[in-house]
């Protein structure tokens, strides 16, 4: 077996970042993401990159935004409490169109919560944690290999669309070790931001208003460029004009909205003929896959839709698989954050059953199997 290795999710994520061209990491280590900072501290200097441990998470995200402005691919890693502190700068990165990658290895919250226990409670914070309408892309790996693949993809999408990209992991995926065979570096597709040709005629935010992405000049190479979190016109200088704000806000959001089909990513099992569809992501999907397979063995037509891109929410995906579906079950380690979106996408074509788990323990496959078999209400009744 070529290079089959036992690898931790956090390790695979870091190696993915390096494969994508990570040059700068700033962070404030926090469980259960700490191994990412550790490995970056060890590996980045060897490759000529820089690692900075910052005073807190606000400093961390500010530092990677600054580094990205100089043309370096930049990343930070954190968990719930740190992710909360980063929200303001995520908005800044969205509006100023500065590509960054944030790894959020989720743990139980709110607040300090349970540092070593898994949760998936940051689905909505990842989308709406910062104020104002803003573009953001959120990817969710479902196993160790995907921690590598989706981190590479996070960088590629950040560079292509100049948006913050969040990789939403969880304690289980981050800490588990699994057999992984990583691809050869030469076979990995790496996207780099488009740079302008010459400083003379550079208009930093000139782009097609219909979701265009402006060319991005690296600071320090002779380009004149003003960066501000105030609404700004094509020159980058602040503007209070309504039409300027309207054009800018619509354009930056359209970058993601228009390209949703390209950003969309998911995995399915047994959806061709299923009447019971399980929709989930991350660690819950491992339990769900086992449950769906057991249900199939028991003669139940169950299927699984596992989202690898959570935001933008892949609404159109449901149109293709709702055919025979009568019930949709959404197991997640929160109180129904993804389920609300699923309900919207299912649009009353089937009943949606929420299955939230918030005790810090991964779903056991039987818990999901029982709901597939008996329904959520009857299962709850039985456990009383």
């Amino acid at each position: 077996m070529p290079n089959a290795k036992l690898m931790q999710g956090n390790e695979a994520c870091t190696l993915g970042a390096l494969a994508a061209g990570l040059e700068f990491f700033a962070g404030y280590p926090i469980t259960p993401s700490t191994e990412i900072a550790e490995l970056c501290a060890e590996e980045l200097p060897k490759l000529g990159g820089k690692f900075l441990q910052m005073e807190d998470e606000i400093g961390s995200i500010a530092a990677i935004i600054g580094a990205s402005l100089t043309g370096k691919k930049s990343m930070t890693a954190t968990s719930g409490p740190g992710f909360s502190l980063m929200q303001e700068c995520i908005g800044y990165s969205s509006l100023c169109e500065i590509p960054i990658v944030i790894i959020n290895v989720q743990r139980m919250g709110p607040s300090t919560g349970m540092p070593t226990s898994p949760a998936q409670g940051d689905v909505m914070q990842a989308r709406w944690g910062t104020h104002g309408d803003h573009p953001v892309i959120v990817l969710a790996p479902g196993n160790v290999k995907e921690c590598f693949e989706l981190t590479v993809r996070a960088f590629n999408l950040a560079e292509k669309y100049r948006v913050p990209v969040i990789v939403l992991m969880d304690e289980v995926i981050g800490h588990m070790r699994e057999k992984v065979i990583l691809p050869e570096q030469s076979s990995i597709k790496v996207v780099n931001r488009k740079a302008p040709a010459a400083p003379g005629s550079y208009v930093p935010y000139a782009a097609d208003p219909n979701g265009g992405v402006p060319d991005m000049a690296p600071f320090g190479e002779g380009f004149r460029w003003h960066v501000t979190g105030l609404f700004h016109d094509e020159t980058g200088f602040p503007s209070n004009k309504g039409e300027v704000a309207d054009t800018l806000l619509r354009r930056i959001n359209l970058k993601v909205e228009k390209n949703e089909p390209e950003i969309r990513d998911y995995a399915v099992e047994g959806v061709d003929d299923c009447d019971t569809l399980v929709v989930t992501f991350g660690c819950s999907a491992m339990s769900a896959l086992s449950a769906v397979r057991q249900a199939r063995k028991n003669g139940i037509k169950a299927g699984l839709l596992r989202l690898k891109t959570i935001w933008p929410f892949p609404e159109a995906t449901f149109d293709g698989i709702m055919g025979h579906v009568k019930r949709v079950i959404v197991p997640e380690m929160n109180l129904g954050q993804l389920a609300g979106e699923v309900e919207r996408a299912v649009a009353r074509r089937a009943a949606v059953e929420r299955l939230g788990k918030v005790n810090g323990e991964l779903f056991r496959p039987e818990e999901i199997l029982s709901v597939i078999t008996n329904g959520a209400a009857r299962t709850a009744e039985a456990s009383k």
């Binding site: 036992l6 289980v172 070790r177 699994e178 339990s287 086992s290």
Partner: protein, 177 residues
Amino acid sequence: MRTEFRLSGSGGQGLLLAGIVLAEAAILDGKNAVQTQSYGPEARGGASKAEVVISAEEIDYPKATDPDFLLALTQESYRTYGKLMKRGLIIVDSSVQLSDEIAARTVSVPILRTAAEDIGKKVVANIVALGALAGISGIVGQSVLGEAVRNRVPKGTEELNLAALAKGFELAKAVKT
């Protein structure tokens, strides 16, 4: 076929490393393996556990559901995890007092004593335990496991750890006969 292992004891006994080595040996053997652990305040003292799932096929669920083998090196871990055992075998250190409340098949093996007295190093108890666990379960042979041990232990301690592993396999043979 999916084989599930739960390695439990107190924090600092090196059971996480033992779990990692077991998983790596399975991979060297061409199988799939997933290793998980409980992280908690108990990681320093108290009951701690590492789990390994090994299969020739794809592994969907990463944690042990109904372990085939439970290794328990302390009274507390035996009490905590022994109760959850249904069809699997419990391997306890001989210092552990067995309880009537725990019904699962149990074998008692002098792991800690062998490490302390025969090898002369308490710290290799995890590797003695690993040898005993592999020998009793038959999940992976001594040479492959030895290679995995060699890959993971600190430089200069290879021979010591391989001796501990061999002792563990000997303990397993004594159980079988």
